[in-house]
């Protein structure tokens, strides 16, 4: 029913960060908290991507996708050894 949490990787458009934020992680956290009070950032990324990973419900992920400055909210993928 969309209540189960799963991991998402959230890609942020860092150039769109509002000037009121002093550090991008504060902006990331604020964006996350706007859709989920309880969600925490698992990793924040700066070199590989701009963004973070977190656990969200499907509904929260959809809401986050619509927030300003969000490029993509991609579900966790499982890779395997070759």
């Amino acid at each position: 029913h969309g209540l189960e949490k799963t991991t998402y990787i959230v890609h942020m458009a860092k150039s769109q960060m509002p000037p009121s934020f002093h550090h991008h992680t504060h902006w990331y956290d604020s964006s996350l908290k706007s859709v989920s009070e309880s969600a925490q950032m698992m990793y924040t990324y700066e070199k590989a991507i701009h963004g973070f990973s977190t656990r969200l419900t499907e509904t929260e992920a959809r809401l986050l996708t619509a927030r300003p400055g969000i490029l993509a909210v991609l579900p966790e993928m499982r890779y395997q050894l070759h």
Partner: protein, 656 residues
């Protein structure tokens, strides 16, 4: 690894290769199952101080402390937040919450790429010799991202983030996950960021061959590596009671079979299970297999587990027969009982004997390690194949390298079969996969990087690709074990890597970050998608014509749209542009083109390029004119530039 350095020509003339000091400045990051630091392959004797560029660390955790690292294994970290979020806390009785490799795969790949030389290496006496990595003096940084339950994208991205921050020069990733678009695939996205920093990224092509469209890791900023055999084999012969012999392979070491014929039974006739022929757990009737050699069909469960099942049921030996899925491809295993693997044809003939003789008998003769096997290399059946399902206009895989029966370092945590019941401890193991070919190319990329520190990742890949070979010394084309016929660029890409030639390619097809952005524009990526990949707020220049065909790639994949754009005469012409950069001495290069099919004509303009100084760039256009062919038809060709000393070759695929 043993043998592959010789097979690749690395042992021939040390003067051909970069000075050890420059190789020891190269840091190779390996994303895998971690590392077994006690492996002799991480001996740092003779290595100088850690490169001053290194920013990484040795992270402590279960059975792993800071002193586990040294001047060879300079960094080790682990990333498990994504894994634990998905599957719950790590069970530390089963796997180490640290960079320690409890699986073996990560130790195998990291020692393959840059292990120090170890004399007297072997697996239970098989494949003996001095084991060394491709870039034996390069430094290793291990990033553990794969666990018992898999490897998760959030952890992989975190490891890539760290590896970029740590200042690795080469990244080796022997893992993959499906076929997502570039802007949705974390390996592709992270590899783009690495490429931007000048890091050469090598990834495995996947083991989903021999079917078409099975490739992983096809982004053009990644070097995608398929697998081939080397000239080494481990024969073990099946000798039937009717006097017929069949050739198989095995790495069995232990109490041999008695020197006489033994009763032989087909697993499917020794089980009440519907799939009893596969020797699944507890599927065999001990009353029917005790004291006998059992023939099991390959498939479903692990090959070595079938041997365990036979042993547990009281069987004394196993013949493992390929089915149509694997054809004639033979993969050697360190079975727990006397066992050998045979190809489908042999398996069928052995089964017809089993079914026709009322008292069938057999024995297995083990012949150890044989070298000088020809032809070699042949493309491994399991190696994933093109065309590229994401961007058919980019030919993948890029190259093949040794990936079958590769001996390299192993974990002390599990035996060579990986089975829980296998209590043997080995310093080296022999395994197969594109996981094994990828670190060969990572190490060779490190050698090229050491010889040419200023080269971009694209230039390094170009050098490896344009100097790769597609023929044996006798002039015959490379073979594909899946068909027994000549392989094609969809199987082997540019061909088999030749590191000696790659050090001096003459010319390279270089690519900048801007070129890749133009490529994304040509794919009609939205600005959001481009920003996801590049982290920059870029827009495509609407006044510029962006064509995938113009990405300065060292290979060509031509699609003729049947019935579209055809002239009244029924032919279609497509034009490609390429730029060559001189990385050798001044010279005049002439183009030669060839096509396997008279349905395509190739025209290169100009067909002579004169380079008078280093780093000079020259552009040429090539026009492919094809007549109509039924949809699904493929043919192949090649463009080669040569100054008489260097050969700069590019494979071509034509698809209708």
């Amino acid at each position: 690894t043993t043998r592959t350095p010789l097979f690749l020509g690395l042992d021939t003339d040390p003067d051909l290769f970069p000075q050890s000091d420059s190789v020891s400045e190269v840091i190779i990051g390996v994303l895998d199952t971690g590392v077994w630091p006690e492996s002799k392959s991480f001996d740092d004797t003779g290595l100088g101080p850690v490169p001053s560029t290194w920013k990484g660390m040795c992270e402590e955790g279960t059975n792993f402390n800071a002193s586990s690292c040294n001047r060879k294994l300079i960094g080790a970290r682990y990333f498990a937040k994504g894994y634990e979020a998905m599957l719950g806390p790590i069970d530390e009785t089963k796997e180490s919450k640290s960079p320690r490799d409890d699986d073996g795969h990560g130790t195998h790949t990291s020692t393959t790429t840059a292990g120090s030389p170890v004399q007297g290496a072997s697996l239970l006496g098989y494949a003996p010799g001095t084991a060394r990595g491709m870039a034996a003096r390069a430094r290793v940084a291990a990033y553990k991202v794969c666990w018992i339950g898999g490897c998760f994208s959030s952890d992989i991205l975190a490891a890539l983030e760290q590896a970029i921050s740590d200042n690795v020069n080469v990244l080796s990733m022997s893992l993959g996950g499906g076929m997502a678009d570039y802007h949705r695939d974390s390996v592709s996205i992270g590899a783009f960021a690495a490429m931007e920093k000048g890091i050469f990224v090598s990834c495995s092509a996947g083991n989903a061959g021999p079917n078409s469209y099975t490739l992983s890791n096809v982004a053009p900023w990644i070097t995608t590596v398929g697998a081939g055999t080397i000239d080494r084999d481990f024969p073990a012969y099946v000798q039937l009671g009717n006097g017929k012999n069949f050739s198989g392979v095995s790495l069995f070491k232990g109490d041999m079979l008695p020197e006489k014929q033994l009763s032989f039974v087909y697993a499917g006739n020794a089980s009440t299970a519907s799939n009893g022929n596969l020797c699944m757990m507890d599927s065999l009737d001990p009353a029917k297999v005790a004291g006998k050699i059992v023939l099991c069909d390959r498939g479903m469960n692990a090959r070595v587990q079938k041997g365990q099942v036979v042993k547990q049921a009281g069987g004394v030996g196993m013949v493992l027969a390929n089915t149509a899925t694997n054809g004639e491809e033979l993969v050697a295993d360190a079975h727990l009982l006397p066992a050998t693997a045979v190809g489908e044809k042999s398996g069928d003939l052995i089964k017809s004997y089993l079914f026709s003789d009322p008292n069938p008998t057999v024995t297995i003769l083990f012949a150890g390690t044989k070298v000088g096997i020809q032809p070699s290399p042949v493309v491994a059946a399991f190696s994933s194949r093109g065309p590229n399902s994401i961007t058919p206009e980019i030919l993948k895989p890029d190259i093949i390298a040794p990936g079958v029966n590769i001996l390299a370092g192993w974990t002390g945590a599990v035996g060579p079969t990986g089975l829980a019941v296998d209590k043997r401890h080995v310093g080296f193991n022999i395994i197969s996969g594109t996981s094994m070919s990828c670190p060969h190319v990572s190490g060779l990329g490190a050698l090229v990087k050491a010889a040419h520190p200023g080269w971009s990742p694209a230039a390094i890949r170009s050098a490896l690709m344009t100097t790769a070979y597609t023929q044996y010394k006798n002039g015959q084309k490379l073979e594909d074990v899946a068909t027994g016929k000549p392989s094609t660029p969809f199987d082997h890409g540019a061909g088999h890597v030749d590191p000696v030639a790659a050090l001096d390619p003459g010319l390279v097809y270089d690519l900048s970050v801007e070129d890749y952005v133009d490529f994304l524009c040509a794919l009609k990526y939205t600005s959001s998608q481009i920003t996801t990949l590049t982290k920059k707020n870029l827009t495509c220049d609407a006044s510029k014509t962006h064509r995938v065909a113009d990405l300065n790639y060292p290979s060509f994949a031509i699609s003729f749209e049947t019935g579209q754009g055809s002239s009244p005469g029924g032919s279609t012409a497509v034009k490609y542009r390429r730029t060559l950069t001189n990385v050798g001495s001044p010279g005049t290069y002439k183009a030669i083109s060839s096509s396997d099919s008279d349905a395509v004509k190739i025209s290169v303009v100009p067909d002579v390029l004169q380079f008078v100084e280093a780093n000079e760039k020259k552009t040429y256009t090539v026009t492919f004119t094809g007549v109509s062919r039924p949809s699904g038809t493929n043919s192949f060709g090649r463009i080669q530039w040569s100054d008489g000393k260097h050969v700069v070759g590019s494979p071509i695929t034509f698809s209708w």
